[in-house]
Symmetry: C4
Subunit: 234 residues, 4 copies
């Protein structure tokens, strides 16, 4: 069996999603890339979390084709694959998709998630962008692949660094997040949902308060990330 250890890791990452309250039923999926082989392991499509096992995970290549496994891979496989194609060389080796409740509401509202405070700035350096919707043609031609393309080109066009902002809102759909492995991508999915709740309530309390000052965002992001980081144990 290919990538036995990675199957375990990806299984564990997927199982965290319902535990963290980010998905119900089958509404999410996590994957991780093995950079040596260029293959990634992903959740099978439509399988309930309490029926998952490491063996049921599916191995795919970067064209989203199943390489090993009896089950169909997640319907979002082509989106994961494109993100790895574009950004694996930046160190992105884990991707997560959920329909977590409040982040999805921001995606449905078609709005960027503003950086209202330090909770956000500790993980996302600037707003989490909401992508343009796919066109009818993009959807009909290759929906899941084009979702990946809209994400990657959207970050390029808006000059957003996917390392500094490891999440996105797909218009009328929901969030994707990523990280150095599946576990970190899950972590970012949970942070995103929490920031989405706080930002919703912030606007209820003060609709026009504006984002946190840039120098505060700088301080928080840079005390956790980069060469001069001081947070945690180093």
């Amino acid at each position: 069996m290919l990538l036995k250890e990675l199957r375990e890791k990806v299984y564990e990452a997927n199982m965290q999603l319902p535990r963290l309250g980010l998905v119900i039923f089958t509404w999410g999926n996590a994957s991780e890339l093995d950079p040596e082989t260029g293959l990634f392991v992903i959740k099978p499509s439509g399988v309930a979390y309490d029926e998952l096992t490491p063996e049921k995970m599916v191995v795919c290549d970067l064209d989203g084709r199943r390489v090993e496994g009896d089950l169909n891979p997640s319907s979002d496989t082509d989106t994961h694959a494109w993100i790895y194609r574009a950004w694996a060389d930046r160190g992105i080796k884990g991707v997560v998709h959920t329909h977590s409740s409040v982040a999805t509401a921001w995606a449905q509202a078609g709005r960027d998630l503003p950086a209202y405070g330090t909770t956000h700035a500790d993980y996302f350096y600037g707003p989490v962008p909401c992508m343009r919707g796919l066109t009818k043609e993009e959807i009909e031609e290759a929906y899941e692949l084009n979702t990946g393309k809209v994400i990657v080109s959207g970050f390029e066009e808006r000059d957003v660094d996917p390392i500094a902002v490891p999440a996105v809102l797909v218009r009328n759909h929901g969030p994707f997040s990523w990280g150095k492995d599946a576990n970190e991508a899950v972590y970012h999915a949970a942070v995103l949902e929490e920031c989405a709740k706080m930002a919703r309530d912030t606007e209820l309390l003060s609709p026009h308060c504006g984002p946190a000052p840039q120098y505060l965002q700088d301080k928080h992001y840079l005390r956790k990330h980069g060469p001069n980081a001081t947070y945690g144990q180093r």
Copy 2:
């Protein structure tokens, strides 16, 4: 004892309702039809979930009359019966009623639940309609039966297919949902509540954002349903 196996299934479906956070106390009921006998099994009225057993389930005919069981059937039995009468030949053999918190708020607000995103479109092909309120006469004459009639005729008048939109909001009351069995009806009740939360928050964040584009709804609904579905394991 009639329909022993079905009693177990309906018992299990009912017990899922509090576990999924859809009901407290006795505020919900699930039933399932046995197409061979034309009888259905339903929760007894006003019995707490932790006192339920498969044996306490009540067997009724399609006039809502108790055929077997010591306990009175759910007060909503006539509504279930009418839905089976109208739609069993479409394959609808499970019905659920809850007072889940946010779906009920939409029903109290008297509003259709808009299809703001793909979470909704994966299960409901278009808005979940809110029915007109019953008249004083309809309520006094045969409240629960007429609730069923308003649902069925409301779907007809608005040309909504109950297979494509397996849930409804009853004005000032709360949601009903259905499916191919009681278990699927419970599933749709949970999806509805989740979509109701997301839609509430979507409107808080962008009051006039409008529904998801029709071609996106088409894509999501049709990738999970119908002859060309690709989602899950087939």
Copy 3:
């Protein structure tokens, strides 16, 4: 030891409050009246729920004076006592006070809880009234006793029947509820919180939708209450 059995019942009723998510820390209390002796059993003041025992419950008379027990009774004892004085002959023998989150928000907003739907009408026949605030003089003279007096006279002035509407919102403070025993008063406290959530969301979705039609409220209230009730097992 006086009223041993009643201590057990009141202990159990108090322990339900944190389990139902209605109180944290020491923020609530339940009591029940023994009509034979004219005494009631109530939670001691400021004792955490996980340190409660039936023996720690306090027995008081209808002047709110401690008759048995080493601990001080709840600071709200005089409010409970006055409710029993006024309404015990109507069959009210259980009282509960909580600071449950959303019902308290309605009390802080100084607003009656409207009867937006059947969930409400199944238990409360009309709006749950919010009382006028106490005057400075009433607060300084006998705060807790006068809270009881404002409740009882408020129901009289507004011609609300405490049997038909077994709960109240005390302005800038929070809810009290009651019933035929402590257990039913707890039940009404939980229903009130759930209706308070639904009503908040109803107004977010449709600020001017107005209450449910009176004939629908009549139907629901009267199918659960009174001589012609059909709900449940009778």
Copy 4:
């Protein structure tokens, strides 16, 4: 090992934070001062709660320097230290910082938390103030220390007594709370989050209702605090 008993207490206080739903991941920290030695014990930086042990707690002096422990202390250590420097002689020996969801939203909105009712007044005598944001210079010079200075000088300038209002909202960041020990500081953090939720909902229901009357706030605060307190067991 220094302050063995205090390490246990501070460990327990930290472990309460996720249990009370106030923090996820590593998003909070509790400390307590030992007045004899002038040292305080605090959570290590960036360590997950389920990996904490009493031995991993870090001992610091009032300049925020680590005196004992292998791990770096919380990145907020200098803020805790300054609060002890300023207010330990007032009896403040426990400090807590969280990013609890709704209190953080108030901080992001840049608004004082109004005293809308008695739940608030039982613990906070007046609004919980939101501090001015730190300047760019203050952030770049000594961010965490200056956060402490802005809190202490903010209370002085606004003439707020930190004993009567044992919590603060740091602009665009989140809440700090304090008390006579770490456990009481945790308690105040939980009360603050609950009051923040109630106040958000109060404004949704009645945007201009204004705070509770001063004489009601006086009654509630003074029945729990000071020489004439009657609440609880004394």
